[in-house]
Amino acid sequence: MLKTENTLTPGELGLPKPGRYRKTAFKRIWKERYLFLLMLPGLIYFIVYRYVPMLGNIIAFQDFNVFKGFLHSDWVGFKHFQKIFEDPEVLQVLWNTILLSFLQIVFAFPISIILALMLNEVRNEGFKRVVQSIVYLPHFLSWVVVVGLVTVLLKSDGIVNQFLQQAFGMESIPFMQSPGWFMPLIVLEVIWKESGWGTIIFLAALSGVNPDLYEAAVVDGANRWRQIWHITLPAIRSTIVILLILRLGSVLDVGFEQIFLMLNPFNKEVGEVLDTFVYFKGVQQSDFSFATAVGLFKSLVGLILVVGANRLAKRFGEQGIY
């Protein structure tokens, strides 16, 4: 006997029964159990060492006490956040961070673009490859090595000071101790270490440019500068925008290792940034809650800036990062 339409169960129609979603989900997980097994260690890693610490930020709203633990410490609301904006030391640190970040975007970021454009103009492949090999290398050195080299080069009787004395009759400059030299040195170190590496992404974008465009430009009588201006630069514009968005998101991230290594009692006033401040307050002085509040403030500002910059980029017709 033929079934009439209304006796068909949803299951027979290939639809999950209402209230059965949980069961189908479980079925699918069981079917893919080996995939989940492979993902499990990574998942545990992400949860324990990336996400539990994110939740751990709740201690910014407590007077965290190691013995009472995460859940039983006293809740104090926004006390520590209020302190961020009242403590002149934090404001100084915040200002240092923003200034240093600004200097890096203005001076270090464009150098990668210029270097990439220069490399792109080289027609001799062998020459290009040798230069690339040299400028990429410092990226793989640790900050300890870079700051160590700079320390020796810039000692009061080091080679740079010797050179300045003999060539220009200058007094020896205490580079590493002078507060005025702190930020320029940080930016110069970043340029030395990362500007070569920074060209890779631009060169990758440039390798995708159709050579016919240049040929056509030559036929139209465009010289080299006009070719760069009208073909090469537009080709990397979206890459520049994406990198700037990412850079904005980490505007309060100025590189803990480098700055920590460059800091000393003489330049602390101008050189202390949010990350090093959090380290000294939290790890060395065990003021966990306040240090966490400062760190959380930093992360939140970064998140807001990324989302905001991404929106802005999309409004101007660029691609954005998501």
């Binding site: 080996y34 539990v52 994110m54 080299l149 320390t151 890459t239 992360s299």
Partner: protein
């Protein structure tokens, strides 16, 4: 394109190349200076103003460093951490990348979980407290587990695996193979170049481990070479840092701290210089793969 170049453009091209040569030399100078100073003798270093080529090449600084138990031990610790963390990281990254490269249940959710770590960091203090609570403080595991998976490497590795033709895995599925078999028998062998590339990246960051060692390791006998290097070169404590376990004590004059420092930096940089040619072969590809999706 040379044939289209006018005289002015040829001149411009020449100036461009000269500028690049100058930039390359400026980049190389610190390396050059590090090498020659590490071989300079005490008397020459103290007496001469600017040294660009030592009159006599000596090994005093190297003898001094290699005679120090603490430096040798820090090299050993760093080699251990580099090897173990590279293997550990590669296994975890490859397994998770494969799971995410397949149409796994909740894939979008898991991917979001990974990508979100790019734009929101947990912060130094909560991470420190978690590592403390999981009893990793002052153990080598503190330098291995918390940095096990680099989100960026994971994403790029996943994209690499997705580029492996589906036909290969589907055939295995029809033959009754499960995902574990496919992963170990098909995907991993085909991922050798990617494994090599990410292995190198993990190894370099393992070798350069500094911040985590500073944060999580208090026991000087477990310090990595970068921490000892900082003590020698930046804190200018070469003689105290290297005095431990020295049989002849410090009776004889030690070499100047600058030459010791340069020799120490050179020793700690040699492994990077050795793998650099291999790294170079891979990294351009890796970065480009990543830039496809932005």
């Amino acid at each position: 394109m040379y044939k289209y170049m006018s005289r002015g453009e040829k001149l411009g091209s020449l100036i461009n190349m000269i500028l690049l040569i100058i930039i390359a030399l400026l980049m190389l100078f610190p390396f050059y200076y590090m090498i020659i100073i590490s071989f300079t003798s005490f008397s020459e270093f103290v007496q001469s103003d600017i040294i660009l080529w030592p009159k006599k090449w000596v090994l005093d600084s190297y003898e001094f460093i290699l005679g120090s138990k603490s430096f040798i031990r820090s090299i050993g610790v760093t080699v251990f951490i580099t090897v173990v963390s590279t293997i550990f990281s590669l296994i975890l990254t490859a397994m998770m990348a494969y799971a995410l490269s397949r149409d796994i249940y909740g894939q979008r959710f898991w991917m979001f979980m990974v990508l979100f770590t790019f734009i929101f960091g947990a912060g130094i203090i909560p991470t420190y407290l978690v590592i403390k609570e999981t009893h990793l403080l002052d153990t080598y595991w503190a330098l291995i587990i918390p940095t096990a998976i680099n989100s960026y490497n994971l994403i790029v590795f996943r994209e690499f695996m997705m580029s492996i033709p589906k036909e290969l895995t589907e055939a295995a599925l029809i033959d009754g193979g499960n995902d574990l078999n496919i992963f170990t028998r098909i995907i991993l062998p085909l991922s050798k170049p990617a494994l090599a590339a990410f292995g190198l990246f993990y190894a370099v960051s393992g070798w350069n481990t500094y911040f985590n060692a500073l944060l999580y390791i208090n026991d000087p006998s477990k310090w990595t070479v970068q921490v000892v290097l900082r003590q020698i070169v930046i804190l200018d404590q070469a003689t105290t840092a290297l005095s431990e376990g020295r049989l002849n004590g410090l009776t004889q004059n030690p070499p100047p701290p600058e030459t010791i420092g340069m020799a120490a930096i050179l020793i700690a940089t040699i492994p990077i210089l050795i793998v650099y040619p291999f790294l170079q072969k891979h990294f351009a590809k890796g970065v480009m793969l990543g830039s496809v999706k932005g």
